[in-house]
Symmetry: D2
Subunit: 351 residues, 4 copies
């Protein structure tokens, strides 16, 4: 049993961490902080947890986090995690960070993608990119697990077999992302007002998205040479879910059997990756609707000989495999229990 | 461990029964039938169950059901359950029926509300109305548990404390129901086509709804005198969820504290009923959004002294507490395990 | 050609007024004010109007309104309209007010329903309740037209024939309203955040809604005796549209033909009321989906002999017949042109 | 005044043609056919047209079409239009076809993309691709106007300035399409059932979509060399609207000013193309939500120097500029009236 703390527990990711960890057999939630809601019952914010807990949000206290926690989850904004994590690592507390602050290995990339100078670059060596399918062994020994967010998780898992097998042209990789509104967080704004956000198919970041850098970092490592990613993000009319449609050009003559080999070879034993590529049925390819509430990443693919293209698809629940679920999966690896503990929920049909 | 069968497993209720029972520690699903999909993998229809099971739908076989099952769930249309149930009871198999075929105690009510003559009226004495909050003890000994559907469950649980406490005028009870599209089942039609069904607030059954009769049966029993229910049903733009807004007139001067006493008295120890009546917060009253995926019925109330009215609210997931979840709750009671077994899921925030 | 001004033109009602009046053959929009967006192009806020106008929002100026306008539309919050209207009437400018400030004939009702003392009670005598179906003749001569909002419009038009014909029991009148998110206006909040508002069936005002008073005022006048209204409001998962389901008890034996006579008698010649009561079809009763974008109020009805009830239904687009469309209809009456001018849009199928 | 007929008037495109043409000052709808609904009132199917018309659907009659129509709109499935059109052209009736049957100039392309041998290849010379922005002059003299559907319209208008200006690498052109459910037509199926279709982000045609061929035909003609298009189609949770996100690689150093020049040069005077590329605002790029109900195609663009990519965006209402609106625009050109006649509707904010 590990004592765990959650910093930023009143946001959507924090709420999912609470839901998962409150019923996790190897975790005891000792602290859940919220600046805005300190002193308020958790169930007033996360109404689903009514009757699940009478816990109250606490203000942020480094003292409590270091004294009462073995592992701390940071669901904090970019820039804040770095400061908190440094103190926790110092005190010997393991950190599972859901911000971007420890995802790059090369500190100079923060200046490129975030216009931000990392305050503790030496700590990056203690951090592991928290994608178990690529870094399971390193996660076991990490002091900081830097969990990727929803877009990198969907895109990297969709593309990793192609990068590793050398099937893709690394100069022509398009990642076209469609995401639900929970990805934008809990702060109300005109962009997220129901009347304005409902029914959109809105290209909100056609180029230059910050998450491009970490996708390139991971795919380049797999490919053994630099990969350039051309990413665009769209808001669509759902609350949860993300689909990454990856269009990859290739000069080779690729057959479906090559793709099956590449994807099976990489994901055949993965507990949370499902290869979805059926001949018939309305869910014959990945669709986030199917994974809502689960920690699955459904991946699929298609060959387009006409345009010399491979289409790779990745679908996740942005708050689960794209955030809280992945963090709990990393926690399980870190503390040495079955990776699926607390994550055995199969989604709904229909939802 | 009980061997269970599910008849009608390819529908939405059947899919939820499969999801719940496949991971239920006291159940082993031995047969799941589907006329339309016999021979097909379950996960081709219920895409969420990919990797959860490699089970295949079976054709309906009374032989298999009687030989391989201790308990059979009937997710079959009205009229079909009666025939199957009769044979199963004969063979000593317990039946949990999700159709309307055994819900009335008085066989003549089938002719009133369904224009249908019950083929086995004597069996109605073996049946119990499967609403645990009202009939827990009888369910333990029943041969047939006749689970109520979504509208009666939401309406009866919202109104029961008022009926029992004598606070309501039994001649002026309005039940205004709003329901999602999964309640209409899996058969495609113009009425359920996405382009036609999306965005509606559609009054599809303003008067004369069949479920009126069973709501009256249960409320009258609680009130000790005949209760008339004026029910209307509306389709709204969600997939899951139902809200019953009950408008009850009263000649008494009712105060909030009277209502608190009535609802707490009835539901204070119920595992799946939550009283939701807060002073603030956007989820201060029952909203089906909060219970999606759970077996909870959230109930709430308000007093309207101006119009001499009480408003009682009941929110459930129509496929869970309104169908499959309630059936599993009844199964737990029937087989003598903790009523919450397999039903410990707290919903999502947000979804 | 009348010179018109719009105060509060950056809100949703203001945007619809702009859209309708910019292409109205008898109106020239001379001023459109917005506190928040003064100096900004109209099309930055109302993106649909890109290429329709290069107009810029102006700050509020009584001088401009009085000098440059013959008629001013007030899409301002409750409390503000009263002050502005007084000055405009003084200057001989006609006012079409979309707030609640001039809807009651009896000033004491403001204290009951709004906890507010009217600052210019004498002006109420210059005002007419702007529902053309009830007050067409008075609107022609009014100095202030006090247009009802969406809930009163839907409820009153649904119930008026019953009130006038004496078919309803005035003590047992339930109005159960379902409304889209645009009714909550443009101010972002947790309650209207897409992730929180999407998928709700949320009872946000079960009793005591402010609009109850004006519905009672109008129905009582028609009935010739006091009518009590028991109203509840729910938020549903659409942007536009409102359905009022009215449950009316009656001691008389009412037949469908009586209802046809009452509704046809009242609305047979109305340009913007359609009686929707077909025997078949998925749109056989009023559904706001059908009237989106139009100025129609679709009304329908059903008899429930079992519960001695009449169900009356009214469906409108809350921003059109429930606000801007109705205001333009009143404008047409006021200035003496064909009532349908500028309002000839038939909605979409599907939308 | 032209007498017009609509074949296939009970579908969604037919319904929009009816709505537009019934109020068109230069058209008189003399025949509207429907196989399924012959004899039924139009407003039973297209409920929005209640009170707009008492027209009844007619069975298909070549005699009536040739005798009573000057222009016939064919909203018929692929394969049927070719036969009907041949007879109409023979009789001197102008044809505006909304199927794919006359879109290719090269008959062999039908065998490539549709596995279908064109029955009247000689008629292709009488046909013009009905995209006014590219073929306005030819439309004036055509016997058959072959209107493109929603995907080609959005993609071609987004990419045309890049093709014409030589800014794009013709071997690496990705078109990632997101479309609403009305694009799938009126035939109910499991794929379009509300409970299954709601909330999806579903990649239903990742490669090999039939419309690829016509996009290539038009872009190649503009570019003066063969262009290959890599297209993927996704279903999203709206009823109307389509967004084409086009990812184009380029070896040149492209600046925003080059794109402004290319787009302004091509669309500066177009009545139905708006360039949407603002610095701020939530609608700063094309979003189909803004064009619902209108005949606009909103186009926008962005440069991605990091990946040597241009992102081009096209947003339309699939039933308007993607079908019925475009057909009426072509009709206006064909009969020599102002191109905007009957198409002056500006969309809603919000919807």
């Amino acid at each position: 049993m590990k004592r765990v703390g959650i910093v930023g527990a009143s946001g959507y990711v924090g709420g999912e961490l609470l839901r998962l960890l409150l019923s996790h057999p190897n975790a005891e939630v000792t602290v859940a902080t919220s600046r805005k809601y300190a002193g308020e019952y958790v169930f007033r914010v996360h109404a689903n947890l009514r009757k699940a807990t009478n816990m109250v949000f606490a203000p942020l206290s480094m003292k409590r986090l270091t004294e009462e926690c073995d592992v701390v989850f940071l669901a904090t904004p970019h820039g804040q995690s770095a400061k908190i994590a440094a103190q926790l690592v110092e005190a010997g507390v393991k950190v599972i960070d859901l911000s971007a602050d420890f995802r790059f290995r090369d500190p100079s990339l923060y200046e490129v993608w975030y216009k931000w100078k990392h305050p503790k670059p030496e700590l990056l060596q203690e951090a592991v990119y928290g994608l178990p399918e690529l870094h399971r062994e390193e996660i076991k020994r990490a002091k900081i697990v830097a969990c990727p967010g929803c877009m990198p998780t969907a895109a990297i898992l969709a593309l990793a077999p192609l990068a590793r097998s050398g099937l893709m042209d690394p100069e022509h990789v398009v990642v076209d992302v469609k995401i639900g509104s929970s990805g934008a967080g809990v702060a109300p704004s005109m962009a997220t007002l129901h009347a304005e956000r409902f029914g959109v198919v809105r290209p909100y970041s056609p180029a230059g998205h910050r998450h491009t850098g970490e996708i390139e970092q991971e795919l380049s490592a797999l490919a053994g040479r630099p990969v350039k990613v051309a990413m665009s993000a769209h808001a669509v009319n759902v609350v949860r879910g993300i689909l990454a449609t990856c269009h990859v050009f290739t000069d080779k003559e690729v057959k479906l059997v090559d793709l099956w080999r590449a994807y099976r070879g990489m994901y055949g034993n993965e507990p949370f990756v499902r290869i979805v590529k059926d001949r018939r049925g309305i869910y014959r390819l990945p669709d986030p609707k199917v994974v809502i509430g689960t920690n699955f990443c459904d991946v699929g693919f298609e060959v387009d000989p006409h345009a010399k293209r491979i289409v790779a698809l990745g679908a996740i629940d942005n708050l689960m495999k794209g955030a809280a679920g992945q963090a709990v999966q990393c926690f399980n690896i870190l503390v040495g229990v079955d990776e699926k503990t607390g994550l055995d929920f199969y989604g709904f049909h229909p939802v």
